[in-house]
């Protein structure tokens, strides 16, 4: 349905503007070759460029967060009308530039500050993390699931919490051991953190770091793992169970089509905030595109039965598929952060019958029960 809309908008736009060209620019925080965050944004950029003949795209890699302003100046000088800033740290630079260039449209990924010509967008994984957690809980034999994490910020805390809720739904006694590496991209740190978790007895692994390191290290020892961001099944075909994948292209195409059609202008973006999840197709469950669960693990997941409050006695494989179906539905019949949920200090964070708002999800600092390890900024009340 969305594809039809985009096509219609694109045609309308073409009619309204004749053969006018739209130039869009991307600011990347890392190298395209990272096979993680920046790589995924670039895949999205190329998708958009291929979809729209009227679109011209340019990009700059390795833009330091403190110097985004001058790179934006350069882009504007080159005639760029839409700028995508793809790192949280660009936030203030984007808002300042938006004042300097009131006729340019800005879109800032993962941010929360908007302006008449600044929109924000995010493809979030928390639903997918819950499903991966269910599988991890079913697969751990030691009851210890390892998680290698980049920075202790709300985004990762939300993901680890969703993951842990999944783990505990499949295996109420299991724990999730967390190790922080304080870097988005550092293969050596990710490797040593994984080795440390292995030494602590973890036997299933998930992570947030921009390389396939954790998957490779776990596979060396024969342990299952979950891929992150880019498809990593090919790095360990027998050991990657599933994972989280992103489709930034879906957001870029939607956004640019609306700009071209004149729906988005530099004056009406104050409330434009993409928070796209499974229903919009911005994220996907899988070890590779189109492989939600590695068939090699189907047997072990079907052998693990749990007693589920909605579905009763059900095996984990079917449970993942059913909940996946529910969360893909725009009605959102299921959400991982469905109360009652207590944090690991025993404080009730989500009351019975309630869910969290987007703002609460975006500012989450507490840790759910079952998370073991340091948790900077953990609230005491």
């Amino acid at each position: 349905m969305r594809k039809v809309w985009i096509a219609v908008l694109a045609v309308l736009g073409a009619l309204a503007f004749g053969q006018q060209e739209l130039k869009a620019g991307w600011l990347y925080v890392g190298p395209i070759g990272d096979y993680g965050w920046t790589h995924a944004h670039d895949v999205g950029r190329r998708e958009a460029a291929a979809a729209f003949p009227w679109l011209k795209t340019i990009y700059v890699e390795n833009v330091p967060e403190g110097q985004a302003g001058s790179y934006i100046d350069q882009m504007v000088r080159q005639g760029v009308k839409v700028i995508f800033a793809t790192s949280f740290g660009y936030m203030d630079a984007v808002l300042e530039a938006a004042k300097r260039y009131p006729d340019v449209i800005f879109a800032h990924a993962t941010g929360f500050k908007r302006a008449p010509n600044v929109a924000t967008y995010m493809a979030d994984f928390y639903q997918v993390f819950y499903l991966n957690g269910l599988m991890a809980g079913a697969l751990t034999k030691t009851g210890k699931v390892g998680y290698v994490a980049a920075f202790p910020i709300p985004e990762l805390k939300r993901h680890i919490n969703a993951f842990t809720l999944g783990v505990r739904a499949a295996n109420p006694k299991a724990k999730v051991l967390v190790r922080w590496i304080y870097e988005w991209y550092n293969p050596a740190a990710a490797k040593e953190a994984t080795e440390a978790l292995i030494a602590e007895g973890a036997d299933v692994f998930a992570f947030t770091e921009d390389s396939p390191t954790v998957v490779q290290v776990a596979a060396e020892k024969g342990f299952p793992s979950f891929s992150h961001y880019s498809p990593m099944l090919k790095f360990a075909p027998d050991h990657v169970v599933s994972g989280q994948l992103v489709h930034w292209g879906v957001i870029y195409k939607d956004f640019l089509a609306k700009v071209y059609a004149g729906l988005y202008t530099p004056k009406n973006l104050e409330d434009v905030d993409y928070w796209w999840l499974l229903p919009q197709g911005a994220v996907e469950l899988g070890a590779d595109f189109g492989v939600p669960i590695n068939p090699k693990f189907a047997g072990r997941l079907k052998a693990k039965a749990v007693n589920h409050p909605i579905f009763g006695e059900i095996n984990v494989y079917d449970l993942v598929m059913k909940l996946h179906g529910l969360m893909k539905d725009v009605e959102l019949a299921f959400d991982p952060f469905q109360g009652p949920i207590k944090d690991r200090r025993g404080i009730l964070r989500v009351p019975e019958g309630l869910r969290l708002t987007k703002h609460q999800l975006e500012t989450m600092e507490w840790a759910v029960e079952g998370v073991v390890g340091p948790w900077p900024n953990e609230p005491k009340k």
Binding site: I32, R179, Y182, A188, K191, E195, S211
Partner: protein
Amino acid sequence: MVEDWLVATLARGLAFAAPLLFAALGELVAERSGVINLGVEGMMILGALMAFVVADASASPWLGVLAAAGVGALAALLHAFFAVTLRANQYVSGLALTMVGLGLSGLFGRAYAGKPLAHPLPKWDVPLLKELPWIGPGVFEGQSALLYLGLLLALGLSVFLHQTRPGIHLRSVGENPAAADALGVNVYLVRYLAVVFGGAMAGVAGAYLSVAYRPSWTEGMTAGMGWIALAIVIFAAWEPLRAVLAAFLFGAFYHLAYRFQGVLPPEFLKMTPYLFTILFLVLSALGKSVRLGAPEALGRPYVRGER
């Protein structure tokens, strides 16, 4: 429990030390000849990419390691030309090499990002020695053969520097090139050879990362290890065997930083490898006749007839 910790710390410390050791030993030789090369990071990453590309194409990881040594040596040759022949500022030339290396490898490596390596360097268990208690599983099991080569290289270099005539020539060139020249040592040749050797070893260090430690290519995968290797040369007071100790300590504390995360604040643990490595080496040097100074002529181009 204690055994687990000890074995894991030994094993992880050494595995992490291997690339640092190669890069540090290479740089140590270059610096002993009086030439500082800040291009270690750049030569390392060129080596990492070259090793991956060749290992991927030829299905032979060892050929990859060899090619990495070659590309590292070639890059170092460029530095030697600037630093020795043109007598340019060595710091600037080295930094330029790092930037060029990072840039070039990013550009040419794009096609290889996200590609698994079918034939990585195999792990090698040392027969008999692996049966030893504690040391066996910690040191002689599950490590890459490159690690043992690195340890042997350190031993060999230590003997070379202190016991052989060419080794003494090398040192004299780094301490007092005019005197060495007067004695008939070809200062330029020795410096060229030392710098090129350093580059080859930095290339091997990069190869270890991309075909053994984590068999794949990603841009910027050396992630600052070249700079740590440069620091290790200083911590080690330009002695090969102390470089082994320094690299191992760094690796061991790097591992322990993740083991202790449950107990101590991670922000503090993040700096412990640097802190404890320096502390330990300084303490171990106290009261002994370990010279802590750099080679006299380090960083100074040699001009014949000038003093």
